[in-house]
């Protein structure tokens, strides 16, 4: 089953009279259960592509089908709903809400979905245990290590059981040992069937994925399976 299907997607940024074409007709299909690395030099359009896949931004042109549904022309409210239900975001800078504790951070998407407090708690506990943070529920983000923060963010992304996890340089702010641990978590989730797209600069990180898509100047340069997929090993961070 195809989770993400982009067809000839263009993105043009306009600021005043200036126009910049960040994506120049990108077509891409990602099937359920895939783990994909999106690579490319700085400014090549990786983040732009992720924002479009994540329905944070709209393509200037082209068509986007997400989990069988054409989401190209949804209203603002519908897009918010789809983000909530189908997409899990993981950011380089973690983007946890600083005033909320670990449990509450994970509950945020469940809150917007309208779950009852008990359901929210159950689901949040479940995903937090999954990422190995069942014992840090009351900690504030400032009381966590970088690896722990990113695992909270991953738990939060998983809470709504999305069709796909989108991670934009999730290991960019982590040391290499912690980065491997986070990749191990992504691999575990992927083993269980979660589709994952990871943007990364680092070939080491891309090694852990099953497919590598390279993008340059807003166009796909190469796209193919990773023949040397590595398994991340080691304890939980």
């Amino acid at each position: 089953m195809t989770v993400v299907a982009l067809h000839q997607v263009r993105k043009v940024y306009k600021s005043g009279a200036l126009e910049f074409e960040a994506l120049k007709g990108v077509s891409l299909e990602i099937r359920q259960g895939e783990m994909v690395a999106l690579m490319g030099p700085s400014g090549s359009g990786k983040t732009t592509l992720m924002q479009i896949i994540g329905l944070l931004d709209r393509p200037t042109e082209g068509r986007y089908v997400l989990a069988g549904r054409d989401v190209t022309t949804l209203t603002e409210n519908q897009r918010a709903e789809v983000r909530n239900q189908e997409i899990g975001f993981v950011f380089q800078a973690f983007h946890l809400l600083p005033r909320l504790n670990v449990l509450e951070n994970v509950e945020v998407p469940l809150t917007y979905a309208g779950y009852s407090p008990q359901e929210r708690r159950e689901r949040a506990l479940e995903v937090l245990q999954k990422v190995g943070l069942g014992d840090k529920l009351k900690n504030l983000p400032s009381q966590l290590s970088g690896g722990q923060k990113q695992r909270v963010a991953i738990a939060r992304a998983l809470a709504m059981r999305p069709s796909i996890l989108l991670a934009d340089e999730p290991t960019g702010n982590l040391d290499s040992k912690t980065a491997v641990e986070v990749m191990r978590l992504f691999q575990e989730l992927n083993d269980e069937g979660t589709s994952v797209i990871i943007v990364t600069h680092e070939p080491d990180i891309a090694e852990y994925t099953g497919r590598i898509v390279r993008i340059r100047d807003g166009q796909i340069e190469s796209d193919g399976p990773n023949p040397h997929r590595k398994r991340a090993v080691g304890g939980v961070a």
């Binding site: 989990a67 239900q85 059981r161 269980e192 979660t194």
Partner: protein, 431 residues
């Protein structure tokens, strides 16, 4: 063994499509406010002060209105006052002006007495001044009133012990005095003043009666008055200037019942005019007022005050509201990133709007509640200072509360809708 949480279940189970419940929204707002307590308090200061001022002034104002009304009523029932009218409209009832020249005379009082004997219950002219009253080494300043024996019934001044002076005392210009409760307490302590001597402006008087405690109405308290026969007063205490008819401050006339008041008022007016041979009311040098008019004019004052307080409330809430709007705009800018994150996680514009709107309402209502509490405290201390018992008015408090809700919604709406419209991509990139 771990549970598969993603991908495996394409159809989602959504339990409540309605979004967040109000309590969660309130909690988010409350935390945001507590995140910066000092700033929150400073922000709401405008609302706090505005609401406090209105609550305090209303309570003290109503308290003093009640006092005035009460003392007006305690002045006597079915009362008509003839006073001097020197320029413009006469002073308020019972608040006869003593400063200006007196234009009514003892002869007026005597004429009214003989002409209206069958239509009135009592009549008492008064002439008064502040005098030093002394017992032994103790002394104080009191309002000394020269009057007729009817004063006791007309002005509701029946002694609690002893008796009022009588017609004989008046005719013989006896040096007898009826004293207020406060004077008896202050000058005689626990002792019975009846039969004792007091010195008024150095002249010795015998106390024949003591009035009951009339309560402390702040000014012109009957507790600090001394009543003496008018004849004695004229002979001993009045400034020895007068050539011709002695002047008086006021003539109090008591009607048999309330229904007789308007008619009697008219007849007295005509009578006084006739005595002066003037016909044009604008030339009247006297005023004839009845108690109902006076109560009406007190109500008038109350209404004016209410309007004024409404203005104060409006302006302070406006200022307070602008303060809240300002800080909410700052808050939206500061939390741009948070807004982006929430949107990425599925918050709709409406969710963000509600979040910030509730925050500003919680701020302004918090200010309103603090303002009410501060107002109650202020009313207590100001009331004590002015010797007025503040009147607790739940209505004005509910109104203040509702107004602060309205301020929060009105001034919070613009910042909140700005937050709701923020673009998620740009908000996430915001540093």
């Amino acid at each position: 063994m771990s549970v598969s949480v993603a991908g495996s279940a394409p159809q989602k189970v959504r339990s409540h499509v309605g979004g967040m419940n109000p309590w969660q929204v309130f909690r988010i707002a409350w935390r945001a406010i507590l995140g910066n307590p000092l700033r929150s308090v400073l922000t709401t200061l405008g609302v706090i002060i505005g609401v406090a001022a209105v609550v305090a002034l209303t309570m003290v104002g109503q308290g003093s209105t009640a006092n005035i009304t009460r003392s007006l009523q305690s002045l006597g029932t079915n009362l008509i006052t003839i006073g001097s009218n020197t320029g413009g409209r006469g002073g308020g009832f019972g608040l006869v002006r003593f400063g200006g020249p007196q234009t009514i005379t003892l002869a007026d009082a005597e004429a009214v007495q003989s002409a209206f004997a069958d239509r009135i219950v009592g009549i008492a002219p008064t002439l008064q001044s502040n005098q030093q009253v002394k017992v032994g080494a103790n002394n104080l300043n009191a309002t000394v009133i020269g009057t007729w024996p009817d004063y006791a019934s007309v002005r509701n001044a029946q002694p609690a012990s002893g008796s009022f002076f009588n017609e004989t005392d008046l005719q013989s210009r006896r040096r007898v005095a009826v004293i207020g409760y406060g004077i008896a307490q202050d000058l005689f302590g626990g002792q019975d003043p009846i039969g004792q001597r007091i010195r008024i402006a150095g002249i010795s008087f015998t106390v024949v009666g003591v009035l009951p405690d009339k309560g402390d109405s702040g000014f012109a308290s009957p507790n600090y008055q001394v009543m003496v026969p008018l004849s004695t007063y004229l002979q001993r205490l009045a400034r020895s200037s007068s050539t011709g008819q002695p002047r008086v401050n006021a003539i109090y006339v008591q009607a048999p019942d309330k229904d007789a008041l308007p008619r009697l008022q008219q007849e007295l007016t005509d009578f006084m005019a006739q005595r002066r041979k003037v016909t044009d009311p604008s030339e009247y040098d006297f005023s004839v007022q009845n108690q109902a008019d006076a109560l009406a004019s007190v109500n008038q004052v109350t209404q004016t005050m209410t309007l004024f307080l409404g203005g104060v409330a409006g302006i302070s809430l406006l200022v307070g509201g602008i303060g809240i709007m300002n800080i909410m705009l700052v808050s939206v800018t500061e939390r741009t990133r948070e807004i982006g994150i929430r949107k990425a996680l599925g918050a709709k514009p409406r969710d963000i709007l509600t979040q910030f709107l509730v925050e500003s309402v919680v701020l302004s209502v918090g200010g309103g509640i603090l303002g009410i509490l501060l107002g109650l405290a202020m009313a207590g201390s100001v009331g004590q200072l002015l010797r007025v018992t503040p009147v607790f008015d739940p209505f004005s408090m509910v109104l203040a509360f509702l107004f602060s809700v309205a301020v929060g919604v009105f001034f919070g709406f613009y910042p909140a809708s700005r937050a709701a419209r923020l673009d998620p991509v740009e908000s996430l990139r915001y540093e």
